[in-house]
């Protein structure tokens, strides 16, 4: 089930009413309802993969007890079994065909012709997300941050909690499980805030991202016929499309969870106001980058064992992070480009420079230096998105080459309106609103005047409703595919 569907508009109110009026006696009842609702939510897409979700849940639940052993060897053995199991399932569904084809190409280079059997399996929606949920539980037990829990329903709710089941945020066991095991009572302020988050998230997805998708698809699907400025416009539009799409999903997830009495981890903190790549990664898909930091980068030694190992570990997490997005070279390259952008900061020891503050912290507008830093970081990120958006490496290079060659051949086009200029109308509101909120992403401010506030909410609601009538074209969230 998609958040941006009529089904969800019916599904969630039913769950909400049952949750607070029928199952509200104890947290166990609430959890049971959430579990059933989560399986309905997931099964709406494909009931066939519910078994895989259940299997994943059971396995990690059981491994949790083994990993908790006082015997270090036994604990480590179960940790590795869990890793192999989780990554094994991911490998079969997501990566097997990719590796089979790569080996085939490799051997062909040596004149050996292999004919591997490809599985061509459908990738279960959200598999990368719920697998990482389960792994975080086992890791946290191994590192003694979390005790194994004895109630299977509670654990199953942690893994399959429907607001974050298919596209995150990737929750940590030691953050979400205590909430799952506590009675939730209704809080009016939180619920109102949750509604605002859902409204803003829906608006970003349905009105902003889906509109930008039209421009982006037009430009990217036929880039060989476009001028340089149009291609640049398309790239910028994609940067905002993917941001509005994914952060919109996260906002809806956070808002939905809030209405059920849960606090989820923030996934975005205005990433396009970052002043360097290191800051960008502290603001973009935070739950994934912090997952890799805590469960991969730090166990590998982080930056404590000298510069060489810090560089090696940085490249590993960026490339793995790219590969997590999909079994394709373009994602690996995307990760590699970001690692290259991070490298100078690491070498100069400036990767933690903009930690804990935000651009124009104590003023309304950024200084020239900050503006330059933000624009150059955005340009770098947008450049890297080209490799994310275009699967074929040669096509991505052609796209970039066309921008430069076309500009040299016809510099006059800089004076003309580029194709897709209408996209600006959708990008500017996101920038403006984000800028005013930048100091606190959880403080989604609202207008004080009640009439104006009602007009804004109804206006947004109408645009969202119009956007739901999309004809036969399905509009899934970009991150569902990962």
């Amino acid at each position: 089930m998609l958040f941006n569907s009529f089904e969800f508009l019916i599904f969630f109110p039913i769950v909400f009413i049952l949750y607070w009026f029928v199952f509200s006696k104890s947290y166990r009842n609430q959890n049971l309802l959430i579990l059933i609702a989560s399986y309905v939510f997931y099964g709406w897409w494909s009931w066939k993969f519910l078994g895989l979700l259940a299997l994943n849940t059971i396995i990690d639940f059981l491994y949790g007890f083994g990993v908790n052993s006082d015997n270090k060897r036994k604990s480590k053995l179960f940790l590795w079994l869990s890793i192999i199991n989780n990554l094994g399932i991911l490998a079969v569904f997501k990566y097997y065909d990719f590796f089979a084809v790569q080996f085939q190409h490799l051997f062909e280079g040596f004149g050996v012709h292999l004919n591997p059997t490809l599985l061509n399996l459908t990738l279960p929606v959200g598999i990368s997300f719920y697998t990482f949920h389960g792994m975080s539980y086992v890791f946290d037990i191994y590192y003694k941050r979390q005790k194994p829990i004895s109630n299977f329903i509670d654990y199953a709710v942690f893994v399959s909690f429907f607001p974050l089941l298919v596209a995150g945020p990737i929750e940590r066991a030691n953050h979400l499980l205590p909430q799952v095991q506590t009675f939730r009572s209704f809080n009016f302020r939180n619920a109102v805030y949750g509604c605002r988050l859902i409204l803003w998230g829906m608006f970003k997805k349905i009105v902003i991202a889906d509109s930008l998708a039209i421009v982006v698809d037009l430009i990217y699907s036929d880039f060989s016929g476009q001028g340089a400025t149009t291609l640049i416009m398309g790239s910028i539009a994609f940067s905002f499309q993917i941001y509005a799409d994914f952060s919109g999903y996260s906002d809806i997830a956070l808002g939905t969870a809030k209405l059920l009495g849960f606090e989820l981890l923030s996934n975005f903190k205005f990433p396009y106001f970052s002043r360097d790549i290191a800051e960008f990664w502290r603001r973009w898909h935070i739950s994934l980058s912090s997952w890799f930091r805590d469960y991969l980068y730090i166990p590998l030694g982080g930056s404590k064992d000298g510069k060489y190992k810090a560089i090696r570990n940085t490249f590993i997490i960026f490339i793995v992070s790219g590969f997590w997005h999909g079994a394709s070279w373009n994602f690996i390259l995307w990760g590699f480009i970001h690692a290259c952008g991070f490298l100078p900061l690491l070498l100069l020891g400036k990767n933690r420079k903009n930690l804990g503050n935000v651009a124009a912290e104590s003023s309304k507008i950024p200084s020239f230096k900050e503006l330059f830093q933000m624009l150059s970081t955005f340009a770098f990120v947008t450049f890297a998105w080209i490799f994310f958006r275009i699967k074929d490496f040669n096509d991505a290079l052609l796209f970039i080459k066309r921008i430069f060659v076309n500009l040299v051949e016809d510099p006059g086009q800089l004076l003309h309106k580029p194709g897709g200029i209408l996209a600006v109308l959708y990008i500017v509101p996101v920038i403006v609103i984000d800028w005013f909120l930048r100091r606190d992403e959880r403080n989604l401010r609202t207008v004080k005047n009640p009439v104006l506030r009602a007009v804004i909410y109804i206006g947004m609601g109408t645009l969202i409703l119009l956007g739901l009538f999309k004809g036969s074209s399905e509009s899934s969230f970009i991150y569902f595919q990962f």
Binding site: A191, D210, S224, G225, F469, K470
Partner: protein, 317 residues
């Protein structure tokens, strides 16, 4: 809790009211621009019909061919000769008793009559199979289920509705393009189309479908009760024709057999293809359409004059 639920209900009602008002005023002014299908689905058609895919939707202009025609062609996805399109034709066409002056044009090509073996029933042919209600205006069933009402689409229509793809009162799809753009873009666009078509499953695995041929024959018999029927193969670029010849080298003889069997006329205009420019190899350029339709009218008038029935004609340039 009660307070929150009440607020949500009030906002939902207010939003629905505003939505209804926006939709009402939008339809009032821009109804015919909703999309390229909508206008054809707002009434019954008691004229002769032009049947086919996007080629005939764009190429054939009833106001020039003869005002008693209505262009009821859609796209290759919506209107190949599949079962749902056939049902839609029967639903929207108002049969008159035989009128010797009324003609029906069925355009044919290998793409429209092919399907992938084993996958014919798996293809979901968009709105044609899903429209349940009778034609009406406004056609809310179509608008709410199949039209794109997003703010992008609405603002795009409102800002440049004259330049948008839309349907004229005779059902033809208008697709404007300047000569400057055509000259600059034609070769590239043709190359892209050819590449895309070569990569398509229909090209790689498609075969002329027995079911679609049967549908075509049944449609001929059905429309013959209501006037004369012509099978027409529209002109396309030579590069496109090569693809079609590779897909189905015996296509013309197949059509000749069918036309002979049902005593209708098959007209292959392919030999005259170099006289008419297309925008992408198989859709005619807007400025060529009057010329082409006058040409076709002359051909049809000649056949009508000679009262040729069951005769197969290959037009010589």
């Amino acid at each position: 809790m009660r307070n929150l639920l009440l607020k949500i209900v009030y906002y939902c009602i207010a939003t629905l009211l505003v939505f209804a008002c926006v939709l009402y005023f939008y339809l009032l002014k821009y109804e015919s621009y909703i999309d390229q299908n909508y206008a054809r689905l707002t009434s019954y058609h008691n004229q002769g019909l032009i049947i086919g895919t996007s080629r005939s939707a764009i190429d054939l202009e009833p106001s020039i061919l003869g005002g008693q025609l209505y262009n009821f062609s859609f796209t290759i996805d919506a209107s190949p000769y599949d079962n749902s399109y056939m049902a839609l034709i029967r639903k929207y066409h108002q049969n008159a008793s035989f009128d010797k002056n009324r003609i029906h044009i069925l355009t044919v090509d290998p793409w429209a009559l092919s399907s992938i073996p084993g996958a014919e029933n798996l293809i979901n042919p968009s709105f044609t199979s899903k429209l349940k209600l009778e034609p009406m205006r406004p056609n809310f069933e179509y608008i709410l289920r199949f039209a794109n009402l997003s703010i992008w689409e609405i603002s795009n229509v409102m800002m440049n509705s004259d330049r948008n793809l839309h349907i004229n009162s005779f059902g033809r799809m208008i697709k404007p393009m300047t000569e400057e753009f055509l000259n600059k873009d034609y070769k590239r666009k043709l190359g892209v189309k050819i590449d895309n078509y070569k990569q398509s499953e229909t090209y790689k695995k498609g075969k002329i479908s027995a079911n679609k041929l049967r549908n075509l024959e049944e449609l001929i018999d059905y429309l013959k009760l209501d006037g004369k029927v012509y099978l027409i193969r529209l002109p396309i670029a030579s590069e496109m024709l090569e693809l079609e010849d590779t897909m189905c080298p015996e296509f013309n003889s197949l059509m000749l057999n069918i036309s002979g069997k049902h005593k209708v006329t098959y007209i292959d205009i392919m030999p005259a293809r170099n006289q008419f420019r297309t925008t992408d190899g198989h859709h005619m350029w807007e400025n060529e359409i009057p010329k082409f339709n006058r040409y076709l009218r002359t051909v049809l008038d000649t056949l009508n004059y000679t009262n040729a029935v069951g005769k197969s004609d290959f037009i010589k340039p």
